[in-house]
């Protein structure tokens, strides 16, 4: 095993990553983590918007401080190139000739406006695989509309299914709408790579975020068609388990989940409740069956909440787990960093990057027996690898490289206005 680039599954492949924000960069980072050489292309006139999200503007190089940008662009090289001028476009085309993939997540009119539509790229390099990630796809009545995670989550009905029955539709804090688009971008690129092995030719991928989100609600669509019943938010309930929910602990705003899968688990839970001196309510024979518990689920959840609310979260979870009753604390970000299982697996890795210093970042969730994930490179500083790309890959002279920077076709600091 080795951590060098040639010992990873996608070693020797090159990706041009024109994406910004979240979903596109996730797709390209997956490719980078798998060993491809990913060149992230920004313009100093228009750096990735993620650089100014959750940013520490008190720092001199504030654009290098966003935890979101730094986490989603590791293992990528950084190039700046102004694609609004012909010379920038020409340099990009030279890179296309030497690359395997182009990822972009602009609105659908932008790449043609640059003169970089798929037909053009294909003429330069018939092996190129181009992945376009848009909100709604390349055709159709809404194809010029724009999307963020919650647009897709609303239109596909995910929002309608998130929250409590008596409350509003809720934003999924993990922004599932974006990540589904992101992971499928990498998925598509790898499929096209498989196909290229056979045909020798690349292809074009038209990815619509809306369509990547639809599968989440397949059950609700089936229920609608089978029984004309409309699913809506139901808190945390499950048709096959009860209790199945999120319950308060003694501590303020701390929660635990309990999911009782079968009657044996319920019996052990009922005994546990009785032994804790909480009366005999749980030992009621009518609650011994799933049907009985489902019939009185509101009452059951209320009584269970009252009971859990008298116990410290972690002690109660430990006790339930010792009885083989599925339970867990509801962990937020600060606690996640100390979660023992993730720690044992080394899931958060300390990485030092200027100017923010050493911080924990999650590693790749794909583990291979024949190669080992490594942070080979930090998220790139703006234009960090201009020299490598322009000189080593494209063979430009010192003078030419300096001129490009003077003319702000490249650069290493944002140039707004």
């Amino acid at each position: 095993m080795s951590n060098s680039d040639d010992a990873l599954p996608l070693s020797g492949l090159r990706v041009l990553d024109l994406t910004a924000w979240w979903a596109g960069p996730l797709a390209a980072m997956i490719m980078a983590d798998l060993g491809a050489e990913v060149i992230k292309v920004e313009a100093i006139q228009r750096p990735d918007g993620w650089r100014s999200t959750l940013t520490d503007f008190s720092l001199e190089k504030w654009w290098e401080s966003s935890p979101l940008f730094n986490a989603i662009n590791r293992n990528k090289h950084g190039l700046t190139l102004n694609l609004n001028v012909p010379e920038g476009v020409d340099l990009f085309k030279q890179l296309v000739a030497k690359s395997d993939f182009v990822f972009e997540n602009f609105s659908r009119r932008v790449m043609p406006k640059f003169g970089l539509d798929y037909q053009t790229l294909k003429e330069i390099n018939p092996r190129i695989i181009m992945v376009s990630q848009t909100g709604f796809g390349q055709d159709g009545p809404w194809s010029d509309y724009v999307s963020f995670a919650n647009v897709a989550e609303s239109l596909t009905g995910i929002a309608h299914l998130t929250g409590h029955p008596d409350g509003p539709p809720c934003i999924s804090g993990q922004m599932l709408g974006d990540t589904l688009s992101g992971v499928h971008g990498a998925h598509a690129a790898l499929l096209a790579l498989s196909e290229r092995r056979r045909t020798g030719e690349g292809q074009y991928v038209d990815l619509s975020q809306l369509e990547t989100n639809l599968p989440v609600v397949a059950e609700a669509l089936a229920e609608q068609q089978l029984n004309q019943r409309s699913w809506s938010r139901n808190g945390n309930r499950n048709p096959h388990m009860a209790p199945h929910g999120c319950y308060p602990a003694q501590e303020d705003d701390q929660w635990l989940v309990i999911a009782v899968e079968n009657e044996e688990q319920w019996q052990r839970l009922a005994n546990c409740i009785a032994e804790s001196g909480d009366g005999e309510w749980a030992s009621d024979d009518n609650l011994a069956s799933l049907v009985g518990r489902k019939t009185r689920e509101d009452e059951l959840d209320a009584a269970l909440s009252a009971w859990t609310g008298r116990h410290a979260r972690d002690e109660l979870v430990a006790q339930l787990r010792s009885l083989d009753i599925p339970a867990a604390p509801v962990l937020g970000p600060s606690e996640m960093l100390n979660e023992p299982h993730l720690q044992a697996r080394g899931f958060f890795e300390q990485i030092d990057r200027e100017p923010v210093g050493e911080l924990p970042y999650p590693i790749s969730p794909i583990r291979f027996s024949k190669s080992k994930f490594a942070v080979r490179k930090n998220a790139p500083a703006l234009g960090e690898d201009n020299e490598y790309v322009l000189s080593t890959l494209l063979g430009l002279s010192r003078d030419e490289i300096d001129r490009l920077e003077r003319e702000q076709i490249t650069g290493t600091a944002p140039a707004f206005g």
Partner: protein, 395 residues
């Protein structure tokens, strides 16, 4: 896909099921190995017509298993294991959710792969991965969601966190990562002529593509809270006349546009549209904006915002989803024959490829292809098949 990949699905549940659905859709020959009699857990999940449980008519399984073939083998019997081994001889990829011990028992453990199956790619999707304190914790989804940070982030502030309803939301992400890992391992195999073990922890995969709140916390001390319907007054779900609209203004220009559309252009500089902390003396503006939203239909709000380059949507019910004009225009649904249920509409391809099709045959009945595969492709004799059926090793 190249040379028709052969994939064996040894999984139970929606994570493996979604991974192999994707592989089948884009051209792989997927054989789902199920326990005789009960089959995959998703066959019992429903939804069922009139709530009548039937292993061949579960909505979730009909969606997940489309494009696959089903063979029933009791892999815990010696004969069943032998047949499984013969099937694995023909496979490029096996996808399962077995713990390390379980895989050892079936001869697919990490140490056995290189000697017994040097060309095979085994992709294991388990709740918590193959090592570490939780390696044998077969956690229900709700437990997993609590331990990967998703549940904490979902729901209203001050109330119990509330998940996304259904089995699929947290199954899809690990499933897609499993497909990515499998295809990457396939690329490795072409270069190095060897298979390998690909390990996916559902917990890690869900955490890896959340929003890096842990790093943000470590760097900035910012602890994200549940957002409820709104990230800011102009980003999130707003009550419209006939339901909920989604207005997602995230940038300065987008917020300013929303102010103009609401007839509140003169208040562009207020906290409402500047996405800064709410100023109490501006309460009336918030009320005015909410009242404007509530006076419009959700579709009108969506269209007005989008026509002015502001990301927007409306909160769709299942009935609305089935009528989404954009999806219908792009043929984004698959019309799937489902036996006596007639045909059902399910989500189709997650992306379009110019040269590679996404197609799915109807989902198989439990064990529908047992004979076809074991006689026709593994080459078992009729006598052997009959004997195995007698012994309930296969069905």
């Amino acid at each position: 896909m190249t040379d028709r990949l052969r994939v064996i699905d040894l999984g139970q549940g929606p994570r493996v099921g979604y991974a192999t659905r994707l592989l089948a859709g884009y051209g792989a020959d997927v054989i789902k190995v199920e326990p005789p009699g009960r089959g995959d857990t998703t066959r019992h999940a429903g939804p069922f017509r009139d709530d009548n449980e039937d292993v061949n008519l579960s909505g979730l399984a009909l969606f997940l298993d489309a494009g696959k073939r089903s063979v029933c083998i009791d892999v815990d019997s010696p004969d069943g294991r032998e047949i499984l081994d013969e099937l694995l001889q023909t496979a490029d990829i096996v996808v399962d959710e077995m713990s390390a011990d379980r895989a050892d028992a079936l001869g697919l453990g990490a140490d056995m792969l290189d000697t017994r199956w040097p060309q095979l790619i085994r992709t294991a999707i388990t709740p918590f991965g193959l090592d570490g304190p939780y390696k044998d914790f077969d956690a229900p989804l709700l437990i997993l969601e609590a331990l990967c940070g998703w549940l904490f982030l979902s729901g209203e502030p001050g109330r119990a966190p509330a998940r996304i309803r259904g089995e699929l939301a947290s199954a899809i992400i690990p499933g897609v990562y499993a497909v990515i890992g499998s295809l990457a391992a396939l690329n490795w195999r072409r270069e190095h002529e060897e298979g390998q073990l690909v390990e996916i922890s559902a917990q890690e995969s869900m955490l890896a593509c959340s929003r890096y709140y842990e790093t943000t916390y470590a760097q900035r001390g910012i602890e994200i809270q549940r957002l409820g319907p709104l990230l800011s007054p102009v980003y999130g779900y707003k009550q419209a006349k006939d339901g909920w609209a989604a207005i997602c203004a995230a940038t300065g220009p987008q917020s300013a546009t929303v102010a103009e559309l609401a007839g509140m252009a003169e208040h562009k500089g207020s906290s409402l549209f500047k996405q800064i902390a709410r100023r109490e003396d501006e309460d009336a503006l918030y009320q005015e904006f909410d009242a404007w939203c509530a006076s419009q239909s959700r579709f009108d709000l969506f269209q007005l915002a989008q026509e002015n380059r502001v990301p927007a949507g409306y909160v769709a019910t299942a009935e609305d989803v089935l009528k989404l004009p954009q999806v219908l225009h792009r043929n984004g649904f698959e019309n799937q024959p489902c036996g006596e249920l007639g045909s059902l509409v399910f989500p189709g391809a997650p992306f379009r490829m110019s040269e590679t099709e996404f197609t799915l045959n109807p989902a198989p009945r439990l064990g529908e292809h047992t004979k076809e595969i074991l006689a026709g492709e593994v080459g078992l004799s009729d006598e052997r098949l009959d004997a195995l059926i007698q012994e309930q090793v296969i069905v």
